[in-house]
């Protein structure tokens, strides 16, 4: 409960930061709310009035806060659409990509970390650790470009752009297969860094408990090493893995923006790239707000779930 109360001022501060960016933009702040377009003077005057830009700063900030809390992120003049509906239209694609990448990173990362810990110090362990260090250093957008080069251009196995075939979406199983084929490369590109991070965290937390009393007790009862690993030691890795994902969500979403740009994936990241190109400021600020709120929410959720998983952290 205290955690939730703690998150509220953070959320308000994040919204006010957004207002601060608008107010600090060089030139007329109306431009930050309309975008850098030759919008009609009447429309600019309307925006100036709606946001109270002729009033003192505290009142401006308050008005902005109230608007955002009412779910109004402004109007994208570039797309002739309210920012909220613009973002909502792209949300699903990003969730699909980020969700798949995180699921893959978690499953593969935990397995790799567990096996590596099991063979601690051996050849497999050392090779895995080397590969993980490299994986963690690769920029995800470059990984995306290399995957396109190998699997789309040279081998021709998978498509390089978009979320589905251009020529009409096929229905049924064919449509699902087509979607998966498009999803595979961007999801791998986005997941690699977090796979490496999760595997490292898993390996460390398993090595920490392999000598612990409850593991020795399980061994003494005759549990085989696979049973000990998956039934006892792995449970201990749940909380650190969860923390890794929760506290890195901001980076994961930014990585998604880069990967979406490489693969022409029609999500929020691609929208961010396009809005930066077209100087569509309200859309940019709307996306920043969404990502900030997601990060605050993820931190809160991580804390709460951490307490549920691990009763020692009360």
């Amino acid at each position: 409960m205290r955690r939730i109360l703690h998150a509220i001022p953070l959320l308000l501060a994040v919204i006010l930061l957004n207002y601060g960016l608008i107010a600090a933009t060089p030139g007329d702040p109306v431009t930050a709310l309309v975008g850098d377009f030759p919008a009609p003077a009447a429309y600019r005057a309307q925006v100036r009035h709606d946001y109270g830009l002729d009033k003192p700063v505290p009142i401006q900030a308050l008005r902005y806060l109230v608007r955002v809390l009412h779910g109004d992120l402004g109007y994208s003049f570039a797309n002739r659409q309210p920012v909220v509906s613009l973002i909502a239209g792209r949300l699903l694609a990003t969730l699909e990509l980020v969700g798949t990448a995180l699921a893959f990173a978690s499953i593969a990362g935990v397995l790799l970390g567990a096996v590596s810990a099991q063979f601690g110090g051996g050849i497999f362990d050392r090779a895995t650790r080397g590969a993980l260090t490299v994986g963690y250093a690769l920029p995800e957008f470059w990984v995306g470009q290399m995957l396109i080069l190998c699997f789309a251009i040279w081998l021709g196995w998978l498509p390089s752009q978009g979320a589905h075939a251009i020529r009409g979406a096929a229905g049924g199983w064919a449509g699902i297969a087509d979607g998966l084929r498009h999803l595979l490369l961007p999801a791998i590109a986005l997941s690699l860094r977090y796979l490496a991070l999760i595997a490292r965290v898993t390996r460390t937390s398993i090595l920490d408990v392999l000598g612990a009393n409850f593991v020795l007790a399980a061994r003494a009862r005759g549990a085989g090493s696979i049973r000990v690993l998956f039934g006892h030691a792995l449970r201990n890795a749940a909380a650190p893995v969860l923390n890794t994902i929760g506290f890195n969500l901001g980076f994961i979403l930014a990585g998604s923006a880069l990967v979406e740009t490489v693969f022409g994936w029609p999500g929020i990241g691609r929208l961010l790239f396009d809005s930066i190109e077209s100087r569509d400021y309200p859309t940019m600020l709307g996306i920043l707000l969404l990502v900030s709120v997601c990060v605050v929410g993820a931190n809160l959720l991580t804390d709460i779930v951490h307490r549920l998983v691990d009763p020692r952290v009360a």
């Binding site: 930061l17 933009t25 260090t133 250093a137 470059w142 930014a254 923006a257 490489v262 940019m284 920043l288």
Partner: protein, 266 residues
Amino acid sequence: MKRQGWMAAAWLIALVLAAVFAPAVANFDPYSGSADSLLPPFTQGHWFGTDDLGRDIWAETVFGARVSLIVGVSAALLGAIVGVAMGALAGWHRGAVDATLMRLTEFFQILPRFVLAMIVIALFGPGIGKVILVITVLAWPQTARMVRASVATLRRAPFVEAARIGGMPGSRVLMQEVVPNVLAPVIVLAAMDVAAAILLEAGLGFFGLGDPNLVSWGAMLNEAQQYLRSAWWMAVFPGATIALTVLAFNRLADVLNAGLDPRGRS
């Protein structure tokens, strides 16, 4: 571990030398194009090939090291200074100062730094100074938290008490007795921050937010994106250089960490 540390050090020294003596190392001017566009590697003296405007990729990669190293090292250094100052003040004073500074730290730590950096640069215009500033503003919290924790423990250590009882003013005790003792992990964190800053700068460049007057690895990858089908070398070389540099700084952090941790010494 040790061998990898030497390899990382060798790569970083080579990179710094290449960046400093870039005009001598590169046999072409990275800023002037030619009619020889999209030449594959090792043709007509272009080791890494040329890009769509006929510029030499090797020269661009060498000059790009300047931007990456300047941004990475300055942002990490400034971040470390701000982080140590904030953390030392919070850990030393406790009470209201501590609470306020830690709230501030928490706020900055929770901000989605990559997306925020993109938007700040998009709103305020590109420029290498702004990039350094944005990365610094977003990089100090982790250092501050760590320094605060160590300062808070050291505050009551016997040698600190002794200095205080000896009549040394509080600010001098903090600066001369406490802070030097918490710097070792700060150096490790700073090495990791250089790697993170280089990745962030590359991401900004890839988003078209780099300094338009300077070649950078991220901007090269942005251009390579349109030519993936016809010129793989435009993407492979700058990207591999980023990866190796980030890897080297992370390795350096690992080696420093192992060397500075007294338990790991043998």
